[in-house]
C-alpha cells in the first residue's frame, strides 16, 4: 500500500518546476514608426480597445499627453494608472508608475515611448527595463517606438537628419519583441498632418519642420524603418530554420576593439551591423595597457560608455592585459577564432610616434589570416590622451624634492669629478644616472623629462666652457647635449615603464592568486555559511570594499551578512531597508542592480546575483563609495561569484540528496513497520475471533473451566493489542525523523505511579519497588511519551524475567539531568544482543521479528523518545544477575510561585 503512494515532497517539487517552466512571460507588441506623428499611439490605443472588447483586462500605464483630440478621445473607456510624479530640480516630471502597474497586474498594459529615459530616482534608468520587468511578471505590453531610437541605426539616422537622439534601446529589445506592427503613412501625408498642427504645437512644428521633417529625410527614414522590419522578420524565420538544425552561428566571428576614443562608438556600431549581417558571433575586446591606470576620468567614462554600447549591441566583452596592443589583439583573435576585426583609423596613428609601425600594419604581420576592416573617422578631432592629475599635492611635492635633491647631488658629484680631473664624459654619465634614479623614485614621467632637460642645462651651466653660462664654445657641444638629453630621456622612459609593468604584473599575480586561493578555499568549505564567508573575505581582499551577503531561499532573502575591510562595524547605510529592497529586486529578477548600474542606480551598493542559470542562491552587495570597479576587478569578481554559485549549488544538491536519502530511509522504516504490524495484528486477532467464535457456537457444551480459559485468552490478546496500539500511536508522532513533543514540567513520582498503573496486570507476579529521593524531581518532558517508555521497559522486564523477580525503579538527579534506572534480577541479556536491543524489530528471542508477540518496537521507540528529549538510554548488566535500563531526562529547575 505504501509503495504506490508517491512522495508528496517530490510531487510538490515537480509541480513547482512545471509551474516555473510554464510561468508565462508577457508578450511585447511594439508599434513601430519612422517619425513622430505617423500614428503609433493612435494605433496602439485602437488595438487596446480591440483587446478590451475581446475581454482582456487592459490598463493604460503611461501615454504621453497629446494635443491631438483624436488620440485623447481614445483614452475614453480605458483605465488609466496614475503617473509617478517626480520632482526634478525645479520641474516636476511625470513618469510611468511601475510599482502601481505591478500591483494592479492587468493582463495588458499600454506604455508609450519605449526608448524613454526615466527621471533620476526611478527604479530603472530606462523605460524598456520597466517593460522587461512587466513582461517577466507575465503582463502583456503594448508600446511604441520610432526608428531613430534603435541603437544600431542611431548613427545612420543622425547622419541623415543631423539630429542625434540620446534615448536609445538595444536592438535585442526590438528583435525579441513578440510582435512588431509597423505604423506607416506616406511622408507627404505626414507633412500635411504636421502643417495642420496635429503633431506638434505651432512653434515646435516650425522648428521640427526645419531640421527634420523634410520629404527627403522622411523618405529615407521610412525606408530604413521598413527595411529594419523586414530584417527582423527575415532574422526570425532564419532563427526558426536554424534552431531546427541546432546550429545558429555561422563561422564568422567579428571582433571590435574598444577604446576610450569618442569615435569608437561609430566603429562598434559598424561592427555590430556586420555581425548582424553575417549572423556571426560578436566580441568586443578591450586591451588594458599600463597607461590605463593613468587615464583621466573623462576618458574612463567614455570607455565605460563604449563598453556599455558594445554590450547593448549584443557583444560579449573580453578584456586582455598587456603593453603590446596589436600582439594582444592578434593572440586573442587566434585563440578565439575571430575571423574579422573591425577597427577605426584613429587607432592607426595613436601613440606610436617614434619607431613602431602602425597598429594595423603590425596586426597584419601578426595575424595574416584575419580580415581587417578599417572604418574611417576622420572628421573627428584627433584624440589625445590626457594624463590624470589626481595625485595628491603631497606626493607631487615629495617627487619634486626628490628630483631636486638628486640633481643637486649629481651636480656635486660632477664638481668632485672635475676636481679629480675626470673627463666630461664621466660627468655626463653621472647626470644620466641621476635622471635614471629620478625616474625610479618618482611617480610621474614628467619629472624624468624635466630632469633630463634640467640636467642638460646644469651640465651646460656648470661644466662646459664658459662656466656658469648657458653658452658653449665647443662646436661639438650641441650634439653632446642632444645625445645626453635623448639618452637621459629614453633611459628614464624605460625605467618608468618597467616600473609600471612590474606593478601591473604584481597586481595581476595578486588577483590570480586570489582566484586560485578562492577556488581552493571553496573546495574545502563546508556548508553555505562557510562558503559565503570564504567568498566574501576574498572579495573584500580583492576589491578593498565592504561586502554584504544575502542568502536566498525561495525568493526571500536572509538577513544581511556584512563583511568589512578591516573590522569596523558596517556602515548602516549599506544594510538599510532600501538597500535590502534593491537586493531582493536582484534576487527576484536575476539581474544586477544598484550603484553604477542602470537599475536602481541611487543605491549605495552594487548588487549581483549569485546564480547558476535561473536559480539564484544569494545576492552580494559591494559598497560603492567611490569609483566603479574596473573591468579586471569586475571580471575576477564575476568569476569568484560564479565559483561561489557553483559551490552553493553543489551544497544544495548535496543537502537534497541527503534529504531524499533520509526520506527513503523513513519510507523503508514505515514499510517495515507496516509489514511487521500486519503480522502482529493478525495473530492476536485470529485468536480473539477464533475463541469468540467457539464460545458463540459451543458455549453450552463446554465446561466452566475451558470456557474460562477461552475468555482469558481473548482478554489477554485484546490487552496485548491495546498495548500495541499505544506504541503505534507514539510512533505516529515521529514525523520527519523528529518527534513533536508537548513538554511540561512533570513530577517524576507522579509519572512513575501513572506508568505502573498501566503495566501488564501480570505484574502482580513480580515485585515492583520504586526508590525515590526525598526532594521533588521535576522533569521537562512529554509525560504521555515518558510513561510509554516506562511501560515498555517494565513490561519487558516482566515479560523476560521469571515470576517472582524483583523490579526496582530508581530515580536520582545529577548535573541537571534526572536519571531513571529500571533494574531486574532476571536472566539478563546476552552481550551481543545488547548492541541491537534498541533497533527496530529486534527481539531478544532471535533475529528479525517473525514469531508471535514479537513486535520489536518497544525499545526502539523508547530510544527515539528519550533522544527527542535530549537524553540517553543504555542497558547494562545488573549484579549479581539481571539487567539495568538507564535513561536520562532534562531536569526542570523550578522557582516556586507562592
Amino acid at each position: 500500500m505504501d509503495g504506490f503512494r508517491s512522495d508528496p515532497d517530490e510531487l510538490l517539487r515537480k509541480i513547482k518546476k512545471e509551474e516555473r517552466s510554464q510561468q508565462v512571460t508577457g508578450h511585447l507588441k511594439i508599434f513601430f514608426g519612422y517619425a513622430a506623428g505617423v500614428g503609433k499611439t493612435y494605433a496602439m490605443l485602437k488595438a487596446a480597445h480591440a483587446a478590451q472588447r475581446r475581454g482582456m483586462d487592459v490598463v493604460i500605464g503611461y501615454v504621453e499627453p497629446h494635443a491631438r483630440p483624436e488620440t485623447t478621445a481614445l483614452f475614453e473607456g480605458l483605465e488609466q494608472l496614475p503617473d509617478l510624479v517626480a520632482a526634478h530640480r525645479d520641474i516636476t516630471l511625470h513618469e510611468f508608475n511601475l510599482d502601481a502597474a505591478m500591483q494592479r497586474k492587468p493582463q495588458l498594459i499600454l506604455v508609450d515611448e519605449l526608448a524613454h529615459t526615466n527621471a533620476e530616482g526611478c527604479r530603472h534608468a530606462k523605460r524598456y527595463q520597466d517593460i522587461q520587468e512587466l513582461l517577466k511578471a507575465g503582463i502583456h505590453v503594448y508600446t511604441t517606438i520610432n526608428v531613430q531610437h534603435i541603437e544600431s541605426l542611431n548613427d545612420i539616422i543622425a547622419s541623415i537628419t543631423g539630429v542625434a537622439v540620446r534615448e536609445r534601446i538595444p536592438d535585442s529589445v526590438f528583435d525579441n519583441a513578440d510582435q512588431v506592427e509597423l505604423v506607416d503613412i506616406e511622408p507627404e501625408e505626414l507633412i500635411e498632418r504636421l502643417n495642420a498642427g496635429k503633431i506638434y504645437r505651432e512653434t515646435q512644428a516650425q522648428k521640427a519642420l526645419g531640421n527634420f521633417f523634410d520629404i527627403k529625410n522622411l523618405t529615407a527614414l521610412r525606408e530604413i524603418a521598413l527595411r529594419r522590419c523586414a530584417d527582423r522578420v527575415n532574422r526570425m524565420s532564419e532563427k526558426v530554420r536554424l534552431s531546427h538544425r541546432d546550429i545558429y552561428y555561422t563561422d564568422e566571428h567579428i571582433l571590435v576593439c574598444v577604446s576610450s576614443s569618442p569615435t569608437n562608438s561609430k566603429i562598434i556600431r559598424t561592427a555590430a551591423r556586420m555581425a548582424n549581417a553575417f549572423k556571426g558571433a560578436f566580441t568586443a575586446l578591450f586591451v588594458e595597457t599600463p597607461s590605463f591606470l593613468q587615464m583621466n576620468e573623462a576618458d574612463k567614462n567614455q570607455l565605460r560608455e563604449n563598453i556599455r554600447l558594445a554590450q547593448h549591441l549584443g557583444a560579449t566583452l573580453e578584456t586582455v592585459y598587456g603593453d603590446d596592443i596589436p600582439f594582444q589583439i592578434a593572440e586573442f583573435a587566434r585563440l578565439s577564432g575571430v575571423s574579422k576585426i573591425v577597427m577605426g583609423r584613429s587607432n592607426m596613428q595613436r601613440k606610436y610616434v617614434w619607431s613602431k609601425p602602425s597598429l594595423t600594419e603590425r596586426l597584419i604581420t601578426l595575424a595574416p589570416n584575419l580580415d581587417i576592416h578599417i572604418i574611417p573617422d576622420q572628421n573627428t578631432p584627433i584624440y589625445k590622451r590626457k594624463r590624470m592629475r589626481q595625485k595628491k599635492g603631497r606626493v607631487v611635492l615629495l617627487d619634486a624634492v626628490i628630483s631636486i635633491l638628486l640633481l643637486v647631488a649629481v651636480t656635486l658629484v660632477g664638481f668632485a669629478f672635475r676636481q679629480l680631473g675626470f673627463s666630461e664624459a664621466n660627468i655626463i654619465t653621472v647626470y644620466i644616472l641621476g635622471v635614471l634614479l629620478t625616474a625610479a623614485f618618482t611617480n610621474q614621467r614628467i619629472y624624468s623629462l624635466i630632469c633630463s632637460v634640467v640636467s642638460v642645462l646644469t651640465f651646460n651651466y656648470f661644466f662646459t666652457e664658459p662656466y656658469l653660462t648657458l653658452k658653449a664654445y665647443d662646436e661639438g657641444y650641441p650634439v653632446t647635449f642632444l645625445v645626453m638629453f635623448l639618452s637621459a630621456f629614453i633611459t628614464s622612459t624605460l625605467a618608468v615603464r618597467m616600473k609600471q609593468q612590474t606593478k601591473q604584473a604584481s597586481e595581476a599575480a595578486f588577483r590570480t592568486k586570489i582566484l586560485l586561493e578562492t577556488n581552493q578555499l571553496i573546495q574545502k568549505g563546508k556548508g553555505k555559511n562557510e562558503i559565503i564567508s570564504v567568498v566574501a573575505n576574498q572579495l573584500v581582499k580583492l576589491l578593498r570594499r565592504d561586502v554584504i551577503f544575502y542568502l536566498a531561499a525561495q525568493d526571500t532573502l536572509s538577513e544581511p551578512i556584512p563583511f568589512t575591510v578591516g573590522s569596523p562595524p558596517i556602515s548602516p547605510a549599506y544594510i538599510a531597508a532600501n538597500e535590502r529592497a534593491v537586493a531582493s529586486w536582484v534576487c527576484k529578477n536575476n539581474k544586477h542592480a544598484g550603484a553604477t548600474t542602470n537599475t536602481l542606480g541611487n543605491a549605495n551598493c552594487l548588487y549581483l546575483a549569485i546564480r547558476v542559470n535561473d536559480t539564484v542562491y544569494g545576492v552580494v552587495g559591494i559598497a560603492m563609495p567611490g569609483e566603479p570597479l574596473d573591468t579586471f576587478e569586475n571580471n575576477i569578481m564575476l568569476s569568484i561569484l560564479g565559483e561561489c554559485a557553483l559551490a552553493l549549488e553543489n551544497e544544495t544538491a548535496l543537502k537534497e540528496r541527503e534529504q531524499s536519502a533520509l526520506l527513503a530511509k523513513n519510507e523503508q522504516l514505515r514499510a517495515n513497520l507496516l509489514r511487521s504490524i500486519s503480522h502482529d495484528l493478525r495473530t492476536p486477532l485470529t485468536s480473539i475471533s477464533g475463541n469468540a467464535g467457539i464460545l458463540l457456537a459451543n458455549a453450552n457444551d463446554m465446561d466452566e473451566k475451558s470456557r474460562k480459559k477461552l475468555y482469558l485468552d481473548i482478554y489477554d490478546d485484546s490487552l496485548w493489542l491495546i498495548n500495541l496500539v499505544e506504541n503505534l500511536l507514539s510512533v505516529t508522532r515521529i514525523e520527519d525523523g523528529t518527534m513533536k513533543l508537548r513538554l511540561s514540567a512533570e513530577l517524576m513520582e507522579e509519572v512513575i505511579a501513572e506508568a505502573l498503573r498501566h503495566v501488564n496486570r501480570k505484574s502482580t507476579e513480580h515485585k515492583i519497588v520504586v526508590q525515590q529521593p526525598d526532594e521533588f524531581l521535576l522533569a521537562k518532558i512529554d509525560a504521555r511519551l515518558i510513561i510509554q517508555v516506562m511501560i515498555n521497559i517494565v513490561d519487558n522486564a516482566i515479560k523476560y524475567t521469571p515470576p517472582g523477580s524483583n523490579i526496582t525503579i530508581t530515580t536520582s538527579a545529577q548535573d541537571g539531568n534526572i536519571i531513571v534506572e529500571i533494574a531486574d534480577d532476571g536472566d539478563g541479556i546476552p552481550d551481543d544482543a545488547k548492541a541491537h536491543i534498541f533497533e527496530m524489530f529486534y527481539t531478544a528471542n532471535k533475529g528479525l521479528a517473525d514469531s508471535r508477540r514479537s513486535l520489536g518496537l518497544g525499545l526502539s521507540l523508547c530510544k527515539s523518545i528519550i533522544a527527542a528529549h535530549g537524553g540517553e538510554i543504555s542497558v547494562r548488566n545488573n549484579s549479581p544477575k539481571g539487567t539495568i535500563f538507564r535513561f536520562t531526562l532534562p531536569k526542570e529547575e523550578v522557582t516556586l510561585r507562592e
Binding site: 508537548r742 514540567a745 513530577l747 507522579e750 521533588f776 521535576l778 523550578v894 516556586l896
Partner: protein, 232 residues
Amino acid sequence: MNKPLVLAVEDDAAIRNLISTTLETHNYRHLTAASGESAIMEAVSHNPDVVLLDLGLPDIDGIEIIRKIRSWSNMPIIVISARSEETDKIEALDAGADDYLTKPFSVEELLARLRVTFRRLNYSANNTGNESAVFENGNLKIDYSACCVYLDGKELHLTPIEYKLLCLLSKNVGKVLTHSFITREVWGSSWENDVASLRVFMATLRKKIEKDPSSPQYIQTHVGIGYRMLRV
C-alpha cells in the same frame, strides 16, 4: 432512592451495546443515543442523572454538546474519548465535563467512575444546606470558615497555597480539574512555570494528607490533564 438514570451517547454500536449491557447488569436505568442531535433530545426530555458522552460523534462536536447541556443543566457529564484526543479531553473538561474515560476502557473502570459520580451526587444532595461551612471526606475535614484542616481529628499546618489548592479540589470533589483551571483559580493566571509550581505544591500537600502518597486516597493524578479529589 430510585435507580439512577444514565444516558449513554456513543455512535459505535458495539461499544453502545457494551455500555448498555454493563449498565443493565449493574442495575442502572439507561437510555442510549447514537448522535449528538438525539443525545440533546434525550437529555432535555428525560433529564438523566449522568451522561456518558463520546466526543467523536458524527454530527455535532462533543464539546458543543457539553456547552449546550451546561447552558441549562449541571448534570454530571463523563466524557469518553480515544487516547489520541488528549487536547480534546482538556477542552471538554474546561467546557464543563466532570470526568473522562479513555478508550479502550475496562468495564470495571466505567463502573468505578459512575460510582464516584453518584457518591458525589448523593453527598451534595444530602448536604445542600451547610455545604459552605464544613467539608468532610473520610478522615479529612475542612472548616472553611476557620480556614482549618483536620486529618484524623488533628489539625494540619498547610501553607496558604496548599490550603487554596485543597479548598479548590474539595469544592469540586469528584470532578477532574485541569492544570490550567487550577493555576487560574489559585494564582490568578496561567503561566508555563505555574504547572511546575502546581506539581510541587500538590506533592507537598499530598505528603500531608495522604497516608501513602504513592497510592493516594484523596487526590488522584491525571497525567497530562489535571487532578481530582475523590469522595472517599
